[in-house]
């Protein structure tokens, strides 16, 4: 599935979802610009998602962040059409999921997507191994290959030796590893993770994030990750979209969102973020002026986090940092003062 990672991008275009007894009737009103409160008060319909446009590049982790009730779980269920939209398109590799027939949709779900759930969604009457082969079984893969894939992924998520246990003999963290192994064994190019780590203890959550990031380096799937936790979003997300009341209020990389929050709402979130552990030196650097004047600096890669950079500088007893680009050539500079300044919240 190597070529898959390069092509399975997801485009969500003009997607809206109206909940209520008769959504079709309300759609034109929405398109004429009626507001969420008017739709609720005059027509007793709830506007769950309003005109969502997100482009998720293939092979990246797209985080969708929002508080409860923001519509993030509704949104992710549109990608594999567990929920049908009221209007809009969901293009996966150029094909509109909304227009698929039931059979096409089933094939799409079997082969192109795999999902991890907040409350795990494991089959309680099957042991760990049988849960892991679930997706492959539905794909109709021969039993020997099912077992091979399941054992491989169980090993990778650290569950070797637990194959015969039943889900409710395992802790939450281990159950979610089973959920992850089941999704990965499916070998689908798209991984949908609905608040996958939200039900776990903080330490185990960080653990799972590390596992996911390590795996992603080699599997390079298109991952859609839902969370209500900004720290998690910043740690995992190549790109982040922030939802509020069913609308996208800002999207971009973590760096962009932390440095330029779009409004007070996002500002409020970002205020509590440890910027030293999020921002990279290349986002705060100044373009390289005269190379000779900065000869006396420490060279670091552009992706180095501020905190790490400061500690490196202090260790080297220098005050200037030279940021290097992809080929190791200097592209900019930052002073120690600038670094420390950038770590303080405005």
């Amino acid at each position: 599935m190597n070529d898959a990672s390069t092509s399975y991008g997801i485009e969500i275009k003009g997607l809206s979802k109206i909940f209520g007894p008769n959504p079709e009737r309300v759609v034109p009103l929405l398109q004429q610009g009626m507001s969420k409160t008017e739709i609720l008060n005059k027509h007793q319909h709830v506007l769950g998602l309003n005109n969502i446009n997100i482009s998720m590049p293939a092979g990246c982790i797209q985080v969708i962040m929002g508080l409860s009730g923001s519509g993030k779980s509704t949104l992710i269920r549109h990608i594999n059409r567990l929920i049908d939209p009221s209007v809009g398109e969901v293009l996966v590799a150029g094909v509109d999921v909304v227009k698929m027939s039931q059979t096409e949709l089933r094939e799409f779900r079997r082969h192109k997507t795999a999902m991890v759930f907040q409350k795990f969604g494991l089959l309680p009457h099957r042991n760990v191994l049988e849960n892991t082969v679930f997706g492959l079984e539905l794909q109709g893969v021969p039993r020997a290959r099912q077992l091979e894939a399941a054992n491989h992924w169980l090993d990778r998520v650290g569950l070797k030796g637990f194959e015969d246990r039943y889900p409710n003999q395992l802790s939450g963290g281990m159950q979610q590893r089973v959920g992850l192994a089941r999704a990965l064994a499916n070998d689908a190019p798209i991984l949908l993770m609905d608040e996958a780590f939200s039900a776990l203890d903080p330490l185990i959550r960080v653990d799972m994030q590390t596992i996911l990031l390590d795996l992603q380096k080699e599997i390079k799937k298109t991952i859609v990750f839902i969370t209500h936790d900004l720290d998690e979003a910043l740690r995992l997300g190549d790109r982040i979209a922030i939802l509020r009341d069913g609308e996208v209020v800002q999207q971009g990389t973590g760096q962009e969102i932390v440095l330029n929050p779009a409004d007070d709402y996002i500002m409020e979130f970002v205020r509590h973020v440890n910027r030293g552990k999020v921002l990279q030196v290349k986002t705060v650097m100044e373009p390289l002026g005269d190379p000779a004047s900065h000869a006396d600096g420490v060279e670091m890669a552009g992706g180095t986090l501020l905190e790490q950079a400061v500690s490196n500088l202090l260790a080297a007893n220098k005050t200037t940092l030279i940021v290097t680009g992809d080929q190791g050539k200097p592209v900019g500079t930052v002073s120690l003062n600038q670094l420390i300044g950038a770590m303080v919240s405005p």
Partner: protein, 295 residues
């Protein structure tokens, strides 16, 4: 003011005519189609006869050992096996073996028929609120209508014998399995169902992999209830010619033979307890994964 003191009812002549018309038309329906309908139920009669034949012609130690083996397979618990064998031996010692075997054959066939018909109905009911709203009142009628009332048309159609008895028992015993299959499937965790959908399950795969296994505890309770209700009907069924433990009880009632009634009644209780313990232990054992060993 007559209408105030006495309920204004249909004219007596009119009522009599209504009864006559319905009775006559049913009688001519019976005459026209009785044989055909009897043909339809013929396989059931064979099944019943066969079950009886097997149980009656096997030597009693073999039957007792097979039942003991089933008890062990289902429960994996010695006390249940021991209790089962002891009950059977006592029944045999008090010379009720043959009647007991006839009753057991009847209960087995009735339960089997109830499950084969009831579980699919329960599944369809769980999938549609409209079906549920139609089937539920029918089940209410089946459970509350006195059995003798629906025995009348059954006996008119099929005469006296095993098959009408079988139908009467099934009508009475089938509602719990339908209701509990429906309930069990409706109670299945939505998150697990969603996972099954997300991985691309077809309806059948969802039913087989998720809904039925997760509803199994409730369905097992339904099977247990169905068996118990079938046993409760044994005496009534004996009134229309079903052989077994019901007939001596009936004779005892008519002639005031206290001891005979008591012995046969206790034998019915005995097999009821055997069926109940075995099916419950089996239900519990197949849900071992539900036990919390973590934490």
């Amino acid at each position: 003011m007559d209408w105030f003191w006495e309920f204004p009812h249909l004219d007596d002549d009119y009522l009599r005519m209504l009864r006559m018309v319905i009775d006559d038309s049913f009688r001519s329906f019976t005459r026209a189609y009785g044989d055909a309908i009897q043909q339809v139920f013929e396989p059931l009669r064979y099944l019943l006869l066969y079950a009886e034949w097997v149980l009656l012609n096997s030597p009693w130690p073999v039957v007792a050992m097979v039942v003991a083996a089933l008890a062990w397979l289902a429960s994996r618990r010695w006390p249940i096996v021991l209790g089962t064998v002891l009950t059977l031996l006592l029944i045999g010692y008090f010379d009720m073996w043959e009647d007991t075997m006839r009753t057991v054959a009847m209960i087995l066939v009735c339960t089997l028929l109830s499950l084969v018909v009831g579980i699919p109905i329960g599944i369809i009911m769980a999938g549609s609120n409209r079906v549920q709203s139609v089937v539920n009142p029918i089940l209410d009628v089946m459970q509350t209508m006195p059995s003798f009332v629906y025995l009348i048309p059954v006996v008119m159609l099929l005469g006296i014998g095993r098959v009408p008895g079988l139908i009467a028992v099934v009508v009475y015993a089938i509602p719990p399995i339908i209701r509990l299959t429906n309930l069990g499937i409706r109670l299945v965790d939505k998150e697990v169902l969603e996972a099954a959908d997300a991985y691309g399950s077809s309806r059948w795969q969802k039913l087989r992999n998720v809904q039925l296994p997760l509803a199994m505890p409730t369905i097992m309770a339904g099977i247990n209830q169905t068996i118990m209700m079938a046993l409760a009907m044994v005496v009534i069924a004996s009134m229309i010619g079903v052989q077994g433990l019901g007939q001596p009880v009936l004779r005892a009632i008519n002639n005031q033979y206290f001891t005979m009634g008591m012995f046969n009644g206790l034998a019915i209780v005995g097999i009821a307890i055997i069926f109940d313990r075995i099916s419950q232990a089996f239900g519990k054992r197949i849900q071992k994964h539900q036990e919390h060993t973590h934490e």
